[in-house]
């Protein structure tokens, strides 16, 4: 008896705690018992009205977080949809590789007793378990190449991805590569502009090399005008050994609106514009000239200052 008393004294605290927990649990259970009314959320009967009065019905499946460990529940409306196929008994069954997304296989099962499949020689043959009802297997048996033919550019280098997935490389383009082909550069072209004479009057310059005025008194200077596009480089030289700045920037060479001044013209002088076209362009070079002449002198021979 004395021993029982000692044991009881040592465990009574734990027993009391356990009894309290059980009582609490029973109390909570009693409070929670009884059939509650179903909870009707804002979503259940919700349909929003469109501007034309039609009823739009939102869903909400992705609101649920990804499924917790051990949950084998249904997908939350995403991922890859379930697919279906007709089986050998003409029944529509779930099949991850099946051709149908509808659980009735679009009513295609059972419409034909004969079924077809592609064999290892890529021929459509009768096969009781085949996926096709059409004797041509919906044209699915032909060997489709592993890659599609694709010309493309790698910078200036044209390449082609062949149907066997090999790559063919072609020589680099000089000017531009587009869709796997070299593109010819544009031909050199003269660009009209408004030229300004020495007296600030204007004229319509053609872009071709022009010397204006092209008739001067001996020892006078004149102006040379040009504007040419789509060129690599140009030179402008005179038959008097003068070299003018061609004014090249990018693919354009331009005298400027005011032209380039010549040195003193002593005698008839030819000025020549020579340009190299862009790589691969036709013609590869262009050249044109204009001439400046000396005004004839009209004086009486023997008179002072008349050189005649």
């Amino acid at each position: 008896m004395h021993e029982f008393g000692e044991v009881w004294a040592s465990v009574r605290g734990k027993v009391a705690l356990a009894l309290a927990l059980v009582l609490l649990a029973l109390l909570l259970s009693a409070v929670g018992d009884g059939q509650k009314k179903p909870f009707s959320s804002v979503e259940v009967r919700f349909a929003d009205t469109s501007s034309s009065g039609l009823a739009i019905v939102p869903a909400s499946c992705p609101s649920e977080p990804p499924h917790w460990e051990g949950d084998t529940g249904l997908p939350n409306c995403g991922g890859t949809p379930q697919r279906y196929a007709c089986n050998s008994n003409n029944q529509c069954v779930a099949d991850s590789g099946g051709p149908y997304t509808s659980s009735n296989c679009n009513n295609a099962c059972g419409t034909s007793t004969q079924r077809y499949a592609c064999n290892s020689n890529n021929q459509c043959v009768a096969d009781s378990g085949g996926p096709y009802t059409s004797s041509n297997c919906n044209n699915a048996c032909s060997t489709s190449p592993p890659c599609t033919y694709l010309p493309y550019c790698d910078g200036l280098i044209p390449r082609v991805r062949n149907t066997d997935c090999s790559i063919t490389t072609y020589p680099a383009c000089g000017y531009l590569c587009s869709a796997g082909s070299c593109q010819s550069p544009p031909a050199a072209q003269f660009i009209p502009f408004v030229g300004i004479r020495d007296d600030d009057s204007t004229f319509q310059a053609t872009g071709d090399l022009q010397v204006i005025p092209n008739l001067v008194q001996q020892n006078d200077t004149t102006l040379v005008y040009w504007k040419v596009a789509n060129v690599s480089i140009c030179t402008v030289t005179g038959s008097n050994s003068q070299t003018l700045d061609p004014g090249c920037s990018g693919t354009i060479c331009y005298s400027g609106d005011h032209g380039q001044p010549t040195i003193k013209i002593k005698a008839q002088t030819y000025y020549t514009l020579s340009c190299t076209s862009l790589p691969g362009a036709t013609p590869p070079t262009i050249s044109e000239s204009d001439v400046v002449n000396i005004t004839p002198l009209y004086c009486e021979p023997g008179v002072p200052d008349c050189p005649l």
């Binding site: 927990l21 609490l24 649990a25 029973l26 909570l28 259970s29 929670g32 509650k36 179903p38 909870f39 009707s40 959320s41 804002v42 979503e43 259940v44 009967r45 919700f46 349909a47 929003d48 469109s50 501007s51 034309s52 009065g53 039609l54 009823a55 739009i56 019905v57 939102p58 869903a59 909400s60 499946c61 992705p62 609101s63 649920e64 977080p65 990804p66 917790w68 529940g73 249904l74 997908p75 939350n76 409306c77 995403g78 991922g79 890859t80 949809p81 997304t101 509808s102």
Partner: protein, 233 residues
């Protein structure tokens, strides 16, 4: 009862959250109880305010009760605290903002969610909903139509596509879509509906299915009448 005893004897945020989810799934016929779910989610939040999903779940609860302001503040807190860890939070915020009539903001959240789950038909459908409400019917139709490659028989998507086409004046297309929606909503099962509305009481599924069918049938009537009227004229 056992769950509460367990929580008293071995308190744990993870355990509380697990219990909360047990009571907050439309697919759990016997245990669904939104109040018990909320109790455990609050416990989980108390025990671990940095729990990665509990604010998300508390936001869903407030939303389902129609407390949109509370729901929005909770989902904002979820996103601020955990960033992009749970893309579904953007979806929930889109849903809340849509119900609040803040359609442009909702559209941005749906777009954010769709980046992580581009073929989720429900997200596409709800994105189309807020686009339609924002007067962007053309974009709504453009969002839905590619998804028919994956979900050709989905009555929600077909219904929304019909509305978008109708609003764009494409009455023949609207008619085709609404006829297909009408056909496929007839075979919608209770189980399928419960997947689509996962936070809802499974006992209410019948009401939800009836409401969806009624909406689609009313739309069918309106679209067909409009087409017939235009044919007469």
């Amino acid at each position: 009862m056992e769950e509460r005893v367990m929580m008293l004897s071995v308190p744990s945020s993870a355990r509380a959250f697990q219990y909360g989810q047990r009571h907050f799934s439309s697919r759990n016929e016997t245990l669904y109880d939104i109040e018990t779910a909320e109790y455990f989610f609050r416990e989980a939040d108390k025990l671990d305010p940095m729990h990665p999903q509990v604010l998300h779940e508390l936001a869903r609860l407030a939303f389902l009760r129609g407390d949109f302001g509370v729901a929005l503040s909770r989902i904002n807190a979820q996103i601020q605290t955990h960033g992009d860890a749970l893309p579904n939070s953007y979806y929930v915020r889109g849903l809340i903002l849509g119900y609040m009539g803040r359609y442009e903001e909702a559209a941005r959240d749906y777009e954010a969610y769709l980046e992580s789950d581009p073929h989720n038909w429900a997200a596409v459908n709800d994105y189309a909903w807020v686009l339609l409400k924002a007067g962007r019917a053309e974009e709504a139709l453009a969002a839905i139509e590619p998804e028919f490659a994956y979900w050709p028989d989905n009555p929600w998507l077909l219904n929304s596509a019909a509305i978008a086409a109708y609003e764009l004046g494409e009455h023949e297309k609207a008619q085709e879509y609404i006829e297909r929606a009408t056909e496929h909503v007839q075979t919608l099962t209770r189980r399928e509906w419960l997947v689509v509305y996962p936070g809802n009481d499974p006992r209410i599924a019948g009401d939800g299915i009836a409401a969806l069918k009624k909406s689609i049938l009313n739309n069918m009537h309106t679209i067909t009448s409009a087409r017939d009227d235009s044919a007469v004229q």
